[in-house]
């Protein structure tokens, strides 16, 4: 009997632990950046040329005119989004949006077949409809909406744009306005812009009205959502919430920030609702809100609801979108925004590994920019900020190049005691290097742990050796609890070695000679070709660009085979295979590339995205990423530069060249190739070339071949 009771208690305890574990293990604990999953949608698999031809054919049937330009532009725009790797299908966020869309369209299967919904992984609060029937919802929007009903209205609004063919309507309006010639009254361009924007606002109003009617007539979603929706759209740039006490979290009894880094008064957010919308494609918020309320009023009913299933499902979705937003902000080096958003979310998920690492990464990023003298690149003027962000921006602006790495290292070290991560350890060592490079040693820090009846002034009275003077005295206590830790001392000492290596590498990079070992396996990411023709109104020569890009990919494949170089190419032109893993890898590389282009070239730092690249690198068994592309430019014959050149030729009495210069357009083609070590972000081979010719295939082939050959046979 006794043993039975013990068993019962044991089971109960086990159940309790299991319950606690289940509660603690929210989906966010194992956050990974969003990936596409499932079968690739048809529109992703259809190549640009097929998409374009299909659309042209449809337009011909519908309007009795091909509208080639429109078909070309809309197909190309979608292609650019595909190339960004930020369009996602099959993720939990897609499923959420699809559920809401299914609810709206449950009685309209025909319409449902014509429209598809995808997620665009960007932090901007937006949703838009693309021709012919694609609706994109940004992760930024999903992170900010307050309930399912708001999203449902936004989807309805976008669906009306598709049903009413507003995209092509605007295209036709623009074309019509261009043709209008009335020199007396309407010749100036402003009139046409006003007319165009007026038409666009008309379309928006129609989408609002019909969208709301569609929502309320087909679903049971709540009527009173107008205020919330426009609040979300208007304040999309603001953090997730306004919360006080950000700076306090870093302080201890002795380590307290001086007044000079604290902003005394924060200005409230600026509310601009009744703006003049004459030059805007969208009507102002006040007008829209009133109109929507009027439309919604007749549909008011007591049994209407804000959520499709339950609040928790919505919250899970919203949290995932918010994590995504922080992820993007980190890639984009928007560190002040990411740290604040992560801190706000930590209230809900205090033990969350991703959020804590996001904070450490943000502090590390700010410290690196600060110590290298480029802080203004990532911290905007505090007066341009609103709400609590003003306090944060002021704080990070005022902390100097010594205070910032100390704060970042203190935070990262404390975190490393809870989380074991190579990335975290690397940034700690890097931060220690930054501190040491300012001639600060461990001896300069005090191990006094609390004040215990001694004032700060007294503590430092007569300590002439201290490097921290005046209002920086508090820095002495930054590592008060850590100076007894052998591990901390070891890391701090290790930093010196890393710094020396870094200097060596920097010195090597300055040398013009390629100094890497022969490389036989690489990944080429999105080889690009862009043709810009300034003589045309639509300056991007879309067809040429697309054709040349395919040619480029084929040439790289041939050259790699010839050179026996194992070169896996990730390009949007390969999506036609319908391979989701390939697209997922493309998306992952796109994230890495986003961070790469945001990194300041004047100093080195550890890449945040590398935490998610291990599996990819293992599968591809290489860490070398090849970036290659061409930019071809054609400008008008009679440009100022062209005339200047012509004049210079006139002086030299070089008449044939003068005539040639005057009557031929100016061509230029530039080439760029970079080979990057994905683990360190270091450029280990770079080639560039320029030609004052149209993009000739010999110039392109020659440069590409040399670059690839250089990988195998470095000098």
């Amino acid at each position: 009997m006794k043993s039975y009771s013990v068993l019962k208690i044991s089971i109960l305890i086990a159940l309790l632990f299991a319950f606690k574990w289940a509660l603690a293990q929210t989906p966010m604990d194992s956050y990974q950046p969003l990936k596409p999953s499932g079968e690739m949608p048809k529109v992703f698999k259809t190549h640009f040329f097929n998409r374009f031809e299909q659309r042209e054919k449809e337009l011909k049937e519908e309007f009795n005119e091909k509208h080639t330009d429109f078909a070309l532009q809309s197909s190309y725009y979608f292609d650019l989004l595909l190339q960004s790797g930020r369009l996602i299908y099959g993720s939990p966020l897609n499923k959420y949006v699809d559920n809401i869309a299914n609810e709206i369209l449950k009685y309209q299967p025909e319409l449902h077949n014509k429209i598809s919904f995808y997620i665009l992984r960007v932090p901007y609060v937006n949703a838009f409809a693309l021709d012919p029937g694609i609706i994109l919802v940004t992760t930024g929007l999903l992170a900010k909406i307050e309930n399912d009903a708001q999203l449902a209205f936004i989807l309805c609004h976008e669906m009306i744009h598709i049903i009413k063919k507003h995209n092509i309507d605007l295209y036709l309006t623009k074309r019509k306005l261009k043709k209008e010639q009335n020199p007396k009254f309407e010749s100036n361009i402003d009139t046409r812009i006003y007319k165009y924007h007026f038409r666009s606002r008309e379309n928006e109003n129609e989408a609002d009205k019909l969208g709301m009617e569609m929502l309320l007539s087909k679903t049971d979603f709540e009527v009173n959502i107008s205020d919330g929706i426009f609040h979300v759209l208007k304040y999309g740039h603001m953090p997730f919430a306004e919360k006080e006490g950000f700076i306090k979290q870093f302080e201890t009894e002795l380590y307290a920030f001086p007044k000079r880094v604290l902003l005394e008064k924060i200005l409230p957010p600026i509310i601009k609702e009744d703006e003049n919308d004459t030059l805007s494609t969208h009507p102002n918020i006040e007008v829209r809100t009133i109109a929507l309320k009027q439309t919604a009023a007749p549909f008011a009913r007591e049994d209407r609801k804000l959520f499709y299933t339950n609040v928790q499902d919505f919250k899970n979705m919203q949290q995932l979108a918010r994590f995504e937003m922080i992820h993007y902000q980190l890639l984009n080096h928007e560190y002040v925004e990411s740290i604040y958003n992560a801190w706000v979310m930590l209230e809900e998920f205090p033990e969350n590994r991703f959020l804590q690492l996001a904070m450490a990464t943000s502090l590390y990023g700010i410290a690196k920019y600060k110590t290298n003298g480029y802080a203004s690149e990532i911290i905007l003027p505090y007066r341009e900020q609103e709400g609590e962000m003003q306090m944060l921006t002021y704080f990070f602006q005022r902390l100097n190049r010594l205070e910032m790495p100390i704060l970042a290292m203190k935070f990262a070290w404390n975190l490393s005691q809870q989380i074991k991560s190579d990335y975290l350890r690397n940034i700690i060592i890097d931060l220690a290097s930054e501190i040491k490079s300012q001639n600060i040693k461990l001896n300069d820090f005090s191990n006094q742990k609390n004040i215990s009846n001694v004032s700060l002034e007294e503590l430092f009275k007569g300590d002439a050796k201290s490097k921290f003077k005046n209002d920086q005295v508090y820095l002495s206590f930054a590592f008060a609890n850590l100076l007894d830790s052998p591990d901390f001392i070891e890391v701090f000492n290790q930093a010196e070695c890393v710094k020396k290596d870094d200097i060596d590498i920097l010195q090597k990079r300055k040398s013009k000679k390629v100094s890497h070992e022969p490389i036989h396996k690489i990944i080429t990411f999105n080889p690009y070709y862009v043709k810009i023709d300034q003589r045309r109104k639509q300056s991007v020569r879309i067809m040429t660009t697309q054709k040349k890009e395919i040619q480029l990919k084929n040439d790289i494949v041939k050259m790699s085979e010839k050179l026996k170089l194992d070169n896996k190419i990730y390009t949007s032109h390969q999506f036609t295979d319908g391979n989701t893993q390939y697209y997922s890898d493309f998306s992952l590389l796109s994230d890495w590339f986003t961070e790469f282009i945001n990194v300041n070239n004047n100093f080195e730092m550890h890449y945040y995205q590398n935490q998610y690249m291990d599996d990819f690198k293992q599968r591809n068994s290489t860490k070398y990423l090849n970036l290659i592309g061409f930019y071809s430019h054609v400008s008008k014959t009679f440009t100022k530069e062209g005339m200047r050149e012509a004049k210079s030729k006139l002086v030299r009495a070089n008449i044939p060249m003068l005539i040639y210069t005057l009557f031929t357009p100016d061509y230029s083609t530039s080439y760029q190739q970079l080979l990057v070590d994905m683990e360190t972000g270091k450029i280990i081979q770079g080639n560039s070339a320029y030609s004052s010719d149209n993009s000739r295939s010999d110039f392109m082939n020659s440069n590409m071949y040399h670059s690839l050959n250089q990988l195998i046979k470095p000098k």
Binding site: K562, A689, D698, F699, S702, Y705
Partner: protein, 212 residues
């Protein structure tokens, strides 16, 4: 004399072939280093005479040989060169027939050889046989002389169909044995003077094929 020249040209081309194999380490154009080339150098010659007309108002030098990419930006070439031109002595027009060899280096400062704008330096050795029928005589006057010509050239070259190469340029040459300016006058002073001007400026058009 001709056999000697041909021997030298063959040796020169073998030397270029050797260089091409030695420098196969550099990429060349898509892995190809050696070109078979034909160059045409043309200038203008319209002398005013009462008795005769010129046969070659656009005198040409034909240049056959090989070029090898020895460095990413440098091409080495060796050529057999031949050409005919007229010369004027008083009111008579004579013919000069030249044959020889040339060695040249082309530099592509901003691009990989052989594409883009280049500067070329060359050295030519040739022998010229000349003859003229004076109006007062029924016998031809003949003679021969050597030419040592250093030249510079500026132009542009490229590849088409991934197999053929073209070159367009302007050449400025200086005949080093400046007999025309010596005080010692002889019959050959006229053809030699002409050869000086023949090399002084020429338009260059070349075409070639990539071998391997």
């Amino acid at each position: 004399m001709k056999q000697n020249i041909i021997k030298k040209i063959i040796l020169l081309n073998l030397f270029i072939l050797f260089w091409s194999l030695m420098y196969a380490q550099n990429a060349g154009y898509m892995g190809k280093h050696l070109f078979l080339k034909y160059n045409n150098y043309t200038n203008l010659y319209f002398p005013k005479t009462n008795n005769a007309t010129v046969d070659y108002p656009f005198p040409m030098r034909h240049n056959f040989g090989m070029e090898c990419i020895i460095h990413p930006n440098i091409v080495l070439g060796g050529f057999y060169t031949m050409g005919k031109t007229n010369f004027r002595r008083n009111d008579d027009i004579g013919i000069i027939d030249s044959q020889g060899g040339e060695i040249a280096l082309k530099f592509f400062p901003n691009t990989y050889a052989p594409i883009g704008y280049y500067s070329r330096i060359g050295f030519e050795f040739s022998t010229s046989e000349w003859s003229i029928m004076p109006y007062y005589s029924e016998n031809k006057i003949k003679g021969d002389f050597s030419n040592y010509v250093a030249s510079v050239e500026f132009g542009k070259s490229g590849i088409f169909f991934n197999r053929f190469t073209y070159t367009l340029g302007a050449q400025y040459g200086l005949r080093m044995n400046l007999t025309s300016f010596s005080k010692k006058k002889s019959d050959s002073i006229y053809p030699q003077t002409r050869m000086f001007y023949h090399h002084l400026w020429s338009m260059h058009f070349g075409i070639g094929v990539l071998l391997f």
